[in-house]
């Protein structure tokens, strides 16, 4: 079973994403802030990370940095309410994230993208 880390401070969104991904048979780990995210990246064996860029305590970029450095083979999906043209998002792209999904989003679409990324 594939394991996915979700870093998102909005409980509603994360529970919805979790619900949707569980339906597809993935295992999920849910954390609410940047520090918990970093420690989850360090301790868990993960197949995918879904993260927001604006979360409490740590800038999303820092998390992406950390993930790419320590787990270069784990793909990252960025979920954000910021537009694609925002500086911070561009920066994330430059760091080499697998995908970017702007909020508002469709959980089904997210599920499809997750499936595609995990297959490749």
């Amino acid at each position: 079973m594939k394991k996915i880390l979700i870093i998102e401070d909005d409980l509603l969104i994360s529970s919805l994403v979790q619900f949707r991904l569980k339906k597809d048979g993935y295992e999920t780990v849910l954390v609410k802030d940047g520090n918990a995210g970093i420690s989850a990246i360090d301790t868990e064996t993960l197949d995918l990370i879904i993260t927001d860029v604006m979360i409490p305590f740590k800038n999303g970029i820092e998390i992406i940095h950390h993930a790419i450095k320590t787990k270069p083979n784990t793909p990252i999906i960025v979920l954000s309410s910021l537009g694609e043209e925002e500086k911070i998002v561009l920066e994330a792209f430059n760091l080499g994230v697998a995908d970017f999904i702007p909020k508002p989003f469709n959980p089904n679409e997210l599920a499809i993208r997750v499936k595609r990324i995990l297959k490749s």
Partner: protein
């Protein structure tokens, strides 16, 4: 504790009222000679009654020789007579006797006694001292007393300011303190209960909500039977205001973050749960925050049937209602231009502009908004907003329109229009910038100078040089030089080379420092 303080207060009040002295007498007061003599001694002067001293042996009046103070040799006070009589006896061994005179006529002791008794009975004289009062018989004394109000308005505690102040302060303090503490305790308890309930409802709602959204199609949701609905959202809960509120908040939050068919599903569910009825009711509330909540719900859930109600609030005197109503109308109306905004009387704050701008930015591509309507508003803040709109959503086609308006508007608006020209950077309409460079208004000149750097022409460069020659202030000079640098590098370096001053050097180095560019 409240009762206790009241008790103390009452006690204080009582102890502060001085009971007025009560005067009076017994009927049988002067029945014997001793008490009469006592009375005479204490009373002093009694109208009509006088005393004389006569030699007991000779019966001759001792007269004024003895007392130069009594002009007629008569005494009006019995006590004095007695002392003189005693002193006479001691010094001269003269036996004197007191003679009683009523209205200057010698009388007997019993007659005088009768006379004084009469005076007392008719209340013609007042008893001077109270020592002789029989204190055991206050009621009869009171009965004898002529009426005078015993409380004359002078409470003792008015007299003693400090006690008065302390009492007022204390009572005020206690009343306020207790009512406020009570209020706060009730408030906090209510709130705590509410929070616990909210949290528990929240947990109950999230599960069924995600389930129903993923498992049902839109059609299924719309035709959901009551039974099925109540399986997820129990009927008894749905009657509770707080539960409904949680549900509404959750659906609204989801709607904001979701896209595509999820939005439709959420709206279908919202209507299926009959939450829209409650929303429309909120619009009629007298509390502004309830109305705004209702407006937000209408807006988020696209309840276009409520649009008529919403429009009533567009000119509300309440800032929050007004802003939200305008935002909702903008969002929901199929066919609406900005003319309703043009007719608003209230000035537009930046906060409102920001909100409207976000919506208009999103709408303008697929809706005929007629932004140019705003230019004709009677309200300056709305005209300014119109110019900003042109800039932010990039309506280059409206620039010509702005150009024709330019001559007739105030300087403040001119600045905003030039800003728009500069931002859109269409190299035309230089005349309007060049004419502004000649203005007396410093702010307008600096705005025009800035714009000239982007869209100016040869004439602008010439004008800028002219202003530079007239030694403008530092800030303006910097803008001018920067614009000149952008317009005509050759002219710029020529100017700097010809005008060597510390200030010019500083600005020149600043403008050519690569780190300081694009700040």
């Amino acid at each position: 504790m409240k009762g206790k303080s009241a008790l103390i207060l009452v006690f204080l009040l009582f102890s502060m009222i001085k009971t007025s002295e009560v005067f009076g007498q017994e009927k049988s007061f002067l029945s014997d000679s001793t008490s009469f003599v006592d009375f005479l001694i204490k009373q002093g002067e009694i109208p009509g009654l006088e005393f004389n001293l006569i030699n007991a042996e000779t019966g001759i009046a001792l007269d004024s020789l003895l007392d130069p103070n009594s002009r007629f040799g008569l005494f009006s006070e019995y006590a004095k007579v007695l002392t003189i009589k005693d002193s006479l006896f001691q010094s001269d061994s003269v036996h004197a006797e007191v003679q009683f005179l009523i209205y200057k006529e010698a009388n007997t002791f019993p007659a005088s006694q009768e006379y004084v008794s009469n005076l007392l009975r008719n209340n013609d004289i007042e008893i001077k001292t109270q020592d002789t009062l029989n204190s055991k018989d206050l009621i009869s004394l009171a009965y004898r007393e002529q009426y005078t109000p015993s409380i004359t308005g002078t409470y003792a505690y008015f007299g003693d300011f400090k006690i008065f102040a302390v009492t007022v302060i204390m009572s005020l303090f206690f009343v306020f303190a207790f009512s406020m503490i009570l209020f706060m305790i009730i408030f906090k308890a209510k709130r705590n209960r509410r929070e616990v309930l909210l949290a528990s409802y929240d947990e109950q709602v999230v599960g069924p909500l995600s389930e129903i959204l993923f498992d049902r199609s839109l059609e299924e949701l719309e035709s959901l039977s009551d039974d099925e609905l109540h399986q997820n959202f129990p009927e008894k809960h749905l009657k509770k205001q707080l539960y409904k509120q949680v549900l509404v908040e959750r659906i609204l939050a989801l709607n904001k973050k979701m896209k595509g068919d999820f939005k439709l599903k959420l709206k279908a569910l919202y209507k299926r749960l009959k939450l829209d009825k409650a929303t429309i009711e909120k619009l009629h509330s007298s509390k502004w925050d309830t109305v705004v909540t209702g407006l937000v719900e209408v807006n988020e859930m696209d309840l276009s049937e409520a649009l008529k109600e919403v429009k009533k609030h567009v000119n509300s005197p309440n800032f929050h209602i007004r802003s939200q109503a305008v935002a909702t109308v903008l969002n929901l109306s199929e066919h609406i231009d900005l003319s309703f905004l043009r007719d608003q009387a209230f000035p537009l704050s930046r906060w409102q502009q920001m909100n409207y701008l976000r919506i208009i930015k999103y709408l303008h591509s697929n809706r005929e908004l007629n932004i140019e309507n705003l230019f004709d508003s009677k309200n300056q803040s709305i005209r300014l907003f119109g110019y900003k709109l042109v800039r932010v959503i990039g309506r280059v086609d409206l620039l010509a329109h702005l150009d024709t308006k330019f001559v007739s508007v105030t300087d403040e608006e001119k600045i905003e229009i030039i800003k728009t020209f500069e931002y859109l950077a269409v190299p035309s309409h230089q005349e309007l910038i060049n004419s502004s460079l000649k203005s007396d208004n410093n702010q307008l000149v600096s705005m025009a100078a800035r714009a000239a750097g982007v869209i100016g022409d040869k004439n602008s460069a010439k004008l800028i040089l002219e202003i530079l020659e007239s030694e403008p202030g530092f800030r303006l000079k910097m803008i001018l030089l920067k614009s000149l640098q952008g317009l005509d590098a050759e002219l710029y370096s020529q100017f700097v080379a010809e005008h060597i001053s510390q200030e010019n050097q500083a600005i020149n180095s600043h403008l050519s420092d690569p780190i300081l560019q694009d700040v």
